[in-house]
Subunit: 337 residues, 2 copies
């Protein structure tokens, strides 16, 4: 059983005044709009998702079944000011869903209220209990995995954009989430970096089971096989997913590894080559369809020039999914080729 | 804090009648004889380590501080027949140490007795609580890691034999344990495959901290970067250890991957090449000193011929540590070169 969440959501913003702490709420609004009925905030909040502001009872009336703590605060804990509103949510019939480090049930008042009102407390950072050891056996259906030169440079966004593009072409595709925000967007998934090491590949197999031959699982990559801290997570995910296609994600201008600045970010050719070599172990037919290049640091003309230069150099489609356009269409077509 | 165990040991054999279920007890007798004061068994037991058979009180008198459950039974649980004797051990002042899957404290009678007599219950499969994310920073001292073409083909034995050989040459060397039997032999270590995936490399850094420039940590490898189930564990351990030297372990005649027989065991040249490529990420100066070849399936002449053939083909020292001899001396010298 994957971690599964009752939908749709009421997005909880607490007393937030800094938009960058509301990434999860914005991600849900942008990528799972059909799953968001409104937002809930304290009067002190100055940030909004522009969704209707609802009381817990109104949200329930509009169909909401979970309130999602869509914000991060320093320390990643439940602020005392939030508690009365969250208890109201439980009373109104909503589960509470959290991607914070601290577990919801560790808060005595929240735990007691959930028991009193018969609601679930869902911690999306907690992996499922029974994950098998990977079998390594081939499964039916197609799989795409986004991989990267480093952490936090667009692997989730790329997987979401590719899933959306495949669906818009009439292809049966599912985004498969491996991190907390992705899980909230998809409504299920496995927080792969929280799985016990021996079971990472097994979790990836569980996440992408056998499917119809024309079905695509588009899997959110994690970390990087080049990252000195997280490479084991990335390799277990790569081997367990058995991707038919990889898309390599990179941020233009990033030269040092995030959190380990004494390491250089690897080159794109080296990244493509090593991933294919490793991935062939569980899928000899794996291929790299292209590169997803995060060009957020550039203006439009410079970005287009950079995409063209990289495409020519690598002889592969290179696109920025945030910019879309013909380059992204070429990348999507290459994935499906 | 690594998992640490009070020594020396009394080896518990229960009611064992099958020598192959007493691997842990035999491993301890062979590799940590100074840590074993005797054995404890029920009258029904027909297997012996040939150490003195002692009562718990006699063992305490002879210095024992832990009784080690040195056997595995089907299901990996505490048999009801063992309980009275184990309670006697707690009463006599001994901790109980277990490498079984089930946790000792889950047995109500054992748990109550440990509390009553103020003793510790040590589960060596449980990793320490506070493992940091790997920093990737270079540490002082030398590190050797045994890696392999597959699981269970001699990585622990090779690391132990290399540590012993280094010490006999007057070199300051420590065996660093990453699995349950290794941890019992060393008296401490980290069960690396039980660590949460994000922390595997951090656990390896913790296990092999900065040391004197001439000191060697000889690290017990786990799994294989080629294994479809466990590769993530192996890569995290490789990156976190930052080995100066790797020794590749292989079993002659093994052609299919253990537990995943639909996979071929990789070739030695490919195994050496991929490990060096991956290991260079955190230690650009890493080198492969040679190969540890498990020749258990061959007679003496055939084994010597096989070692010579492989050494010539790979242009590296190739030895079977169980057979020792000049070939193993050459492997040790190459590690230290």
């Amino acid at each position: 059983m994957l971690t599964r969440i009752a939908r749709p959501y009421l997005l909880f913003l607490g007393d937030i005044t800094e938009p960058r702490f509301a990434k999860t709420a914005f991600g849900l609004r942008d990528w799972a709009p059909e799953a968001c009925v409104g937002e809930l905030a304290l009067p002190a909040a100055t940030v909004s998702t522009d969704l209707p502001r609802l009381t817990p009872a109104q949200a329930w009336e509009k169909g909401a079944r979970s309130v999602v703590i869509g914000i991060a605060n320093r320390g990643g804990v439940l602020a005392p000011e939030w508690i009365p509103l969250l208890v109201q949510c439980l009373q109104a019939g909503l589960d509470i869903v959290s991607g914070m480090h601290v577990r919801l049930a560790q808060h005595a008042e929240i735990k007691a209220a959930a028991e009193r009102f018969g609601r679930n407390l869902v911690d999306v950072r907690v992996p499922p209990a029974l994950i098998p050891i990977a079998s390594g056996r081939k499964r039916t259906g197609k799989r795409l995995l986004t991989v990267g030169t480093d952490c936090a440079l667009g692997k989730k966004y790329t997987a979401l954009a590719l899933t959306r593009a495949m669906r818009s072409r009439g292809i049966d595709a599912d985004f498969r989430a491996t991190g907390q925000t992705g899980i909230l967007i998809a409504g299920d998934g496995i927080p792969i970096d929280a799985v016990v090491a021996d079971f990472v590949a097994g979790a990836a197999e569980m996440l992408t089971p056998s499917a119809a031959p024309t079905h695509w699982d588009v899997v959110e990559g994690q970390g990087s096989v080049f990252h000195p801290s997280y490479s084991g997570v990335s390799l277990g995910l790569l081997h367990g997913t058995q991707p038919d296609v990889i898309v390599v994600c990179h941020e233009l201008g990033r030269e040092r590894v995030m959190g380990s600045e004494h390491y250089a970010v690897p080159s794109l050719p080296d990244t493509i080559d090593l991933h294919l070599r490793l991935a062939r172990r569980t899928n000899p037919d794996v291929r790299c369809a292209g590169v997803s290049l995060n060009t957020a640091a550039l203006d439009r003309d410079a970005a287009e020039a950079a995409l063209a230069t990289h495409a020519e150099r690598l002889r592969l489609p290179v696109a920025d999914p945030i910019r879309g356009g013909p380059a992204f269409d070429r990348l999507v077509e290459a994935c499906l080729a």
